[in-house]
Assembly symmetry: D2
Homo-oligomer: 343 residues x 4
Amino acid sequence: MKRSFASDNNAAVHPNIMEAIVNANTEDYVSYGDDPYTEKAKQLFNEIFDTDTDVYFVFNGTGANVAAISHIIKPWQCIMSSSLSHIHNDECGAPEKFSGSKLITLPSVDGKITPDQLKPLLHSVGFEHHSQPGVISITQATEMGIVYQPHEIEAIARFAHENELYLHVDGARIANAVAHLGLSLSEIITLTGVDVISFGGTKNGLMMGESVVFLNPDLAKDFPYVRKQTMQLASKMRYISAQFIAHFKDNLWLQTASHANKMARLLADKIKDIPEIKITMPVHINAVFACVPREIIKPLQEKYFFYVWNHQNNEVRWMTHFNTTEQDIDDFVLTIRQLLNHS
Amino acid sequence: MKRSFASDNNAAVHPNIMEAIVNANTEDYVSYGDDPYTEKAKQLFNEIFDTDTDVYFVFNGTGANVAAISHIIKPWQCIMSSSLSHIHNDECGAPEKFSGSKLITLPSVDGKITPDQLKPLLHSVGFEHHSQPGVISITQATEMGIVYQPHEIEAIARFAHENELYLHVDGARIANAVAHLGLSLSEIITLTGVDVISFGGTKNGLMMGESVVFLNPDLAKDFPYVRKQTMQLASKMRYISAQFIAHFKDNLWLQTASHANKMARLLADKIKDIPEIKITMPVHINAVFACVPREIIKPLQEKYFFYVWNHQNNEVRWMTHFNTTEQDIDDFVLTIRQLLNHS
Amino acid sequence: MKRSFASDNNAAVHPNIMEAIVNANTEDYVSYGDDPYTEKAKQLFNEIFDTDTDVYFVFNGTGANVAAISHIIKPWQCIMSSSLSHIHNDECGAPEKFSGSKLITLPSVDGKITPDQLKPLLHSVGFEHHSQPGVISITQATEMGIVYQPHEIEAIARFAHENELYLHVDGARIANAVAHLGLSLSEIITLTGVDVISFGGTKNGLMMGESVVFLNPDLAKDFPYVRKQTMQLASKMRYISAQFIAHFKDNLWLQTASHANKMARLLADKIKDIPEIKITMPVHINAVFACVPREIIKPLQEKYFFYVWNHQNNEVRWMTHFNTTEQDIDDFVLTIRQLLNHS
Amino acid sequence: MKRSFASDNNAAVHPNIMEAIVNANTEDYVSYGDDPYTEKAKQLFNEIFDTDTDVYFVFNGTGANVAAISHIIKPWQCIMSSSLSHIHNDECGAPEKFSGSKLITLPSVDGKITPDQLKPLLHSVGFEHHSQPGVISITQATEMGIVYQPHEIEAIARFAHENELYLHVDGARIANAVAHLGLSLSEIITLTGVDVISFGGTKNGLMMGESVVFLNPDLAKDFPYVRKQTMQLASKMRYISAQFIAHFKDNLWLQTASHANKMARLLADKIKDIPEIKITMPVHINAVFACVPREIIKPLQEKYFFYVWNHQNNEVRWMTHFNTTEQDIDDFVLTIRQLLNHS
């Protein structure tokens, strides 16, 4: 059984999710979301967020981010994110293309940003020559696998609202963050003042399916048109909705995320004493960042697909997922040791 | 078993397609299309088009159309389509939003357009004040269920290429058109000179999955960036590719389309003698358009979901699909007759 | 002295306007509109509209239209105009490109539209697949030289506001319309319920300078950013403002427009009895539309530049302007008669 | 006579330029550039660039930059400039809005960038997730008043072309750079390999008028549509063209720029020994950057308008222009000394 350490989206679909898809394959249903699966899935979102939300299912993470942000920004405003954000580095400019807005990045090592970094951008306010602050976008957990504490999100949300800005969260790996913190989604997102979150599923065992969740339903007004215009409206939507129902059933979403986190922790523990390898980031979720000897990268990639994160210092990213086993970790570490001639 | 006559996208997923999805759910695979399912599916496209194509899988029909057209147009050029086209009426302005181009429509009753209608638009060529002709987009089969003959497409393609334009085909229901014509896809699309086609799957039994097929692979240069920026790049792409593999296996795609067409034909035959109902369009594919007494619309919709196409003359659209049965048709016609007090 | 009958923008600059430009060329002033000329010009707009307006100077008519409309529309909404509108035919798709919106045209012979034509577009309201009605844009006077009566504008404005739409007026030739009606600008625009007007200057004797006038200043909130982002913010703005000050001084703007209108009237009177020529539109302002024998078009154009409006029926457009003289008209008509062998 | 040290666009229009405008105000001419003034002005551009160029007149600097860059980039490519560039900081996001492209900035102190800074961005090439390198945009002279040496531009151009990128120059103050270098425009721009330059006029004594100059005319293909769609096509274009004719006559453009540069040099010389003031940048052109005691900023601004460049360290920017006199400098320095109690 081949295993990838490249990304949680190299995984297959969780069996429970697949079963839900198969079970949804019955008779005809009205398309575009006017079906009982979508109705049910939306209710579950209200439950896990412990508030009245307005939820929209979309195809992928870039779609979720771009639709959410475009909806709450004006073209002459700017999006503010960390320099490591997915919206900046991994969406081929889709946020700028679709929203028409400028993306301003703040330097970051772990993917987090702070109100102190945002403050200087307020100097632009009121000057017609400058793109105006509009939306702050943070990633929870960050692209470097680091998790914001609720009080950190709260501080950013407060800063946002004091300055008439919105706070968007890219939650492609929100489940891993929740699992790491051991707190409720409500404590992390709802009560901290987040306005809208891209709530991910695909990286946590779904086949394809993400969502845009408005914590303040008023803010969602007219969002259906934005979803359609961003080409993110699925006709046979029940097949996305059914996945989310299974995702939340018996807290599957937290079990899968916890397991993935645990596997990364295990991997880190097993390599931390290898002298040639230097783990570069704390391991909060399902990612291990490490600098490794350049000569082992290629041969290791031949057996296990993964990405070089930083070519300058031979930093690699190894990701685990819901399906990674302890045996996978053992085999992977053994291969590393063999390549390093440690046996 | 509930049956809808609203759209072929109200159908469930064909069992063979679902089986293929389930069977693809094995080990880890590299994401974004670098997997054996995608490789295999692409080969099949070359076979059914009988030429070297360049194929890109996307999420939905609007995504396919917008990505394809945006790729081959400049913002200061215009898209020319029929006034009944999906890109004009049913994509919430996504083509204009993403391509930046003007959409110019030509009046049509059956959804077809002709070179004679396009010719006057050439008067704009060379005048900087006018949006310049760029892309012709036709729908095969049209939104009114009508099928272009190959020579008609060939004439449009010739007109396009003589005037340095591209020809795009919205093939959301291309399978139904192929089934109707009884010709090969090559005869209908490849040899007629089409440049790029949005080749549909979802309306013909897939769960979600469409494709953009370039008949001239040179034209596809750099399209991967366009697909990504249009938010149509699936991470777990194998689950789309696997659907297309099953779609083509043993000509399933033509069997399903033929069956859907046949059911529409049956429906038309069974209602054509009802004096209160007037069929308004020839029945080429899986749609029946008809004017009906206004008073039966509501009660009929309570039992069978369908759309009123034209409120002015009480014209409705009834669509069949791969799963519609003769019994469904009989029941539906019986209900109509009962509502008309024909029993 | 060469004379063109092509367009009022083939004219030179009115001497009073030029004098104002020269007189503004004194010492240093703060750029981007924070100067006394701009202040003064804005006050004059309030006076001629007889209400508190919010006025923004821009470079050209396309800029005025695109900035105004983009400001009051969402990308998923549509702009509704006549099929003959400048925004549809003569702006190279700039409205779609910049606003991201769809432009829907209503068939028109004289360039006017009516609420009855707009009503069917409301069928789209609330359906996420359809671009949503957003802004109605009319042209006063129309591209065919026809003037709306105030009650006609009022009816469109009422329709707009009853349906949560905005009404924009393309007033590239608003002065000619005001001169024709013999009413105040307030009666025609302010009191009829117009939301925002592109108020033209260049076609009425200015060098370059147009304006966007919000009748409801609240609606102008954040417009400075839109003007900047549409690349319409002049650094040395005083040179546009000074033109408008002179434009309004002693009602120059109405004198120039009246004169232009009168010259067109004169031209029409002098050719109406020429049997080979058929005047095709009522002459309200400074344009005469006429079908002429094809063989005189080329030779006439060699002496007097003008445009063929419709190649199919040899319809030409002849425009007069503030500087056209009776002698110009006499010479022009004489040339026509000579070409027709009428002497 | 009030004098501003805020920007060269606070100046009036040079008398020769104004005279040219007045002299162009004669009879009717065809609009949109088909006039003898525009023809003549274009020839002059060929002469000063010493090559066959393709020149397009536009309204303002943002328009020039956005039109030029949009023309040579694809939406999925990125623009690379210094972090201090006008296109990044002072155009309200217009480059992103119109081109749809991402703008990536490279840290800079003096506004210059180098190939070494650009090289790491090539890591993105070929990965569909990343915005692809497309256009390098440099400013000559930079926003910090620093001038690139020709060999520096040549190195960037070589890097660009080796990597299939284009090089755009924002030449809002190109005249000041040419005057500083004492070389020909050909040596600085044509022979260094620049692809297209926004050639400024307004900051050097014009009323309003900038230009986009393609050094390789083939690259200009279809640019007229881009200019129109960017709302930068002037109807009465002769009034821009006439300004450029006067601009180049008897090398006026270099005289005015040299004078402005000289006045900045004079200002720097006169304040360099004031201990409370620290000049922060070399003075190449007509700008002096200096850190000053915070308490004199407000009172000095009351007499002379200027901008605070950096609020953190009280750095101000003082600009001179063609009309600044030695007396102006003396008075300004005297005022500073008085505020510092130096008399």
